[in-house]
Symmetry: C2
Subunit: 337 residues, 2 copies
C-alpha cells in the first residue's frame, strides 16, 4: 500500500504530520508513505529511527494556505502540495492521498480531477460521529453545498458501504437529516430525497427522517444531508462537546476534594476517546482512489490514524464495493438532468 501525504498541510505542519507518517509506517509493515512538500524542511524531520525505505519525499515548493481561496490558491500556486497529491493519485503512483490542509482545495482537486467512480454524480465527505453504541457516518459534510436529491441518495449508498465494511455494521440503517420525523417535513430537497429512498432497493435500510438530537442515538448508521447542514452540524458537535466537557470539569472538580485527581483523569480519557484525532479524518467518497481529509489542527496521532484508515479503505477495495452497490440501486434514479 502506497499513500501520498500532504506534509505541509494543517495548522501544525510539517512537524506532527511527518511524525504521524513515521508512526504509521512503523505500525504497518506493508505501508509506504510519500511525503509531499519542501524537501529542505521535511528531510531533517525524519529522525534516525524512521524506516527510510518506506518513507520518501516528493519535493514541491508551494502550499495553499488554510484560509486561502481554494480555486485562487491552486491556480496561483501550480506546484502546491495538494495538486501534487492529486496528480500522484491520477498517475496511479499512489493508492490514496491524505491531507490536513485546505479542505476546499482538497475537494476542488477531486472535482477538477473528474475521476469519479462509475455512476457517481458528486463526491461527498463522510464524517465519523460517535454514538452511544459505536459510530455512525454522516455525509456530506463539506463537498456539495447545493446538492440534488439524487446526490443525497448516492451518499446513502456510499455511506452504507462505508459503514458496512469499515464500521462493521452488518446491515446499516440510513436516515435523512430533517427538522421533524414526519415524511412531509422540511424543504423540497428533504422531501424529494425521502421519496427517492422509499422508491429504491434501499427502502428496507431507510429509517426515514432523523433529527439533530438523534445523531448520537445510534439509530441511524448513515445520516445523509447537504454539505451546508452537515458541516454546521459537525462543527456544532465539536463545539458542544468542548463546551460540556469544560463546564462539567469545572463543576465536578470544584465539588471534589480527595478524589479530584481520579475524576480529572477520567475526563481526560473521555476527551481523548472522542477527540477527532481518534477517527483519523473524513474520506471523500465517490472518487477513484482513496482521499482522506483531516482536521486542520491534526496532530501526529490524527495523521497516523488517517493513514491507517486510508490503507484499510484501499485494502478492502471499498470503491469496487461502492460501484457494485450503485449499480444495484441505480434503477431508482432519474437520468442526469
Amino acid at each position: 500500500m502506497r499513500l501520498a501525504l500532504d506534509a505541509m498541510g494543517g495548522d501544525h505542519a510539517p512537524g506532527p504530520i511527518v511524525a504521524g507518517a513515521v508512526q504509521a509506517v512503523q505500525a504497518d509493515a506493508e505501508l509506504r508513505v510519500v511525503l509531499v512538500g519542501d524537501q529542505a524542511q521535511l528531510g531533517p524531520l525524519l529522525g534516525p529511527d524512521a524506516p527510510r525505505d518506506r518513507l520518501e519525499i516528493f519535493h514541491c515548493t508551494q502550499v495553499v494556505g488554510m484560509e486561502e481561496s481554494p480555486v485562487v490558491g491552486m491556480r496561483r500556486k501550480p506546484d502546491n502540495t495538494i495538486s501534487r497529491c492529486w496528480q500522484l493519485l491520477a498517475q496511479r503512483k499512489v493508492d490514496g492521498i491524505v491531507s490536513a490542509g485546505n479542505t476546499g482545495a482538497m475537494v476542488a482537486g477531486g472535482l477538477m480531477s473528474k475521476r469519479f467512480l462509475a455512476k457517481v454524480r458528486r463526491p461527498g465527505i463522510a464524517a465519523i460521529i460517535p454514538t452511544f453504541q459505536s459510530f455512525c457516518v454522516m455525509l456530506d459534510v463539506g463537498a456539495n453545498v447545493n446538492p440534488e436529491p439524487e446526490h443525497l441518495f448516492q451518499y446513502g449508498v456510499m455511506g452504507s458501504i462505508f459503514a458496512r465494511y469499515l464500521l462493521q455494521k452488518e446491515k446499516p440503517t440510513i436516515g435523512l437529516m430533517n427538522i421533524g420525523s414526519e415524511e412531509a417535513k422540511g424543504h423540497s430537497l428533504a422531501k424529494e430525497t425521502h421519496a427517492l429512498f422509499n422508491a429504491s432497493p434501499l427502502r428496507k435500510q431507510f429509517i426515514g427522517n432523523v433529527e439533530g438530537r438523534d445523531l448520537h442515538s445510534g439509530d441511524a448508521d448513515v445520516v445523509v444531508t447537504d454539505a451546508f447542514v452537515g458541516n454546521v452540524v459537525l462543527k456544532t458537535c465539536e463545539g458542544v462537546f468542548d463546551f460540556v466537557m469544560k463546564v462539567a470539569a469545572k463543576v465536578v472538580l470544584g465539588a471534589l476534594d480527595t478524589e479530584r485527581g481520579k475524576a480529572e483523569q477520567a475526563l481526560q480519557g473521555l476527551a481523548a476517546r472522542y477527540h477527532y484525532s481518534e477517527f483519523g479524518g473524513a474520506p471523500l467518497l465517490g472518487i477513484e482512489g482513496v482521499c482522506i481529509i483531516c482536521h486542520g489542527s491534526s496532530d501526529d496521532r490524527a495523521i497516523k490514524n488517517a493513514l491507517a484508515v486510508a490503507a484499510r479503505y484501499a485494502a478492502v477495495h471499498l470503491n469496487d464495493l461502492i460501484v457494485q452497490e450503485l449499480e444495484a440501486t441505480q434503477p431508482a434514479l432519474a437520468p442526469e438532468g
Copy 2:
C-alpha cells in the same frame, strides 16, 4: 399582564402545564393567566391554593396532536387550543400566548393571523443558547424553511433587540451561521445575507460568519440562519449535551469511590442549569403581541419560566423597540419582490 396558555399542549399536558401556570401567578402578582382547554379536565387540576382570581379557564374541546399535520389539524379541529389562543391574542383579550403543543401549528397560527409587526416580512423563532459567558440567541429555528436574505437580515435586527432588552447585552454582536469564516463561503443565501449586513447600519454589530463550533463561545450574541439549519443545530446541541453528560457521568462516577455522591450532585446541578426548561421557551419574533413556543416535553418549571419570559417581553414593550429598529435599518432593504 394577561397571558393565554395552551393548557392541553405538550407531551405531559395538562397536569404540569396547569401546575406551571399556578406557580407563575403565585410568583408574579401582576400576572393573569387564561388556561385554554377542556374545562372538565382543567378545573380539578386547580388546587385549593391556586389564586383563582387570576386564573381563568377558556373552555374549548379540541387539541392538535403533537405529531399531527399542523394545517390539516387546524382545519379539521376549529375549536383547537392553539387557534383559540391566537384568536384571544387577535381580539386583544390577552397580551401574549404560550404553548408547548404542536410547534408547526403555533407558527401556522401566527402566519395565518397575518398580524405581523410593521415592516416585518416573516416572523422567526428565536432560541436561547447557553455560552461560556452567558447566552446568545439563534434564529430562525423553525418558522421559515426557505427564507430570503432580507428575512435573515430582519432576524438580525429583531434578535439584537431581544438580546439587548431581554439578555442585557449593551450592543449585541450579530453573526451569520456559515461553513467557514471567509466572506465568500457558503450558498447564495449566506453570501447575499452577508452583503446585506455589511451594507446596512448594523455593519458595526455584524461580526461576519460564525461556524457551528463558535455557537457557545459567546462571540456572537445573535446568530442568524434559516429554519432548517437552525432547527437541526438546536436539536443537535440538545443531543450532544445529553450524550456528553451521560458518558461523562459514566466514566467519572465509575472512577470514584468515596466522593461519588458529590460528583453526581454536581452533574445533576449542571444538567438542570442548562436544561431547556430554564429558558422557558422560544419567542416567535415579528408578530403583534407576544408568542412563546415551548419544548414539547415541557414540565411545570418550563411553563412557569415561559410565562415569566412572556410577561417581561410584554412589559418592556419589546415589539415597539423592534419596529423602531426595523425603521432605522430598513433603508438597506430592497423593496419586497
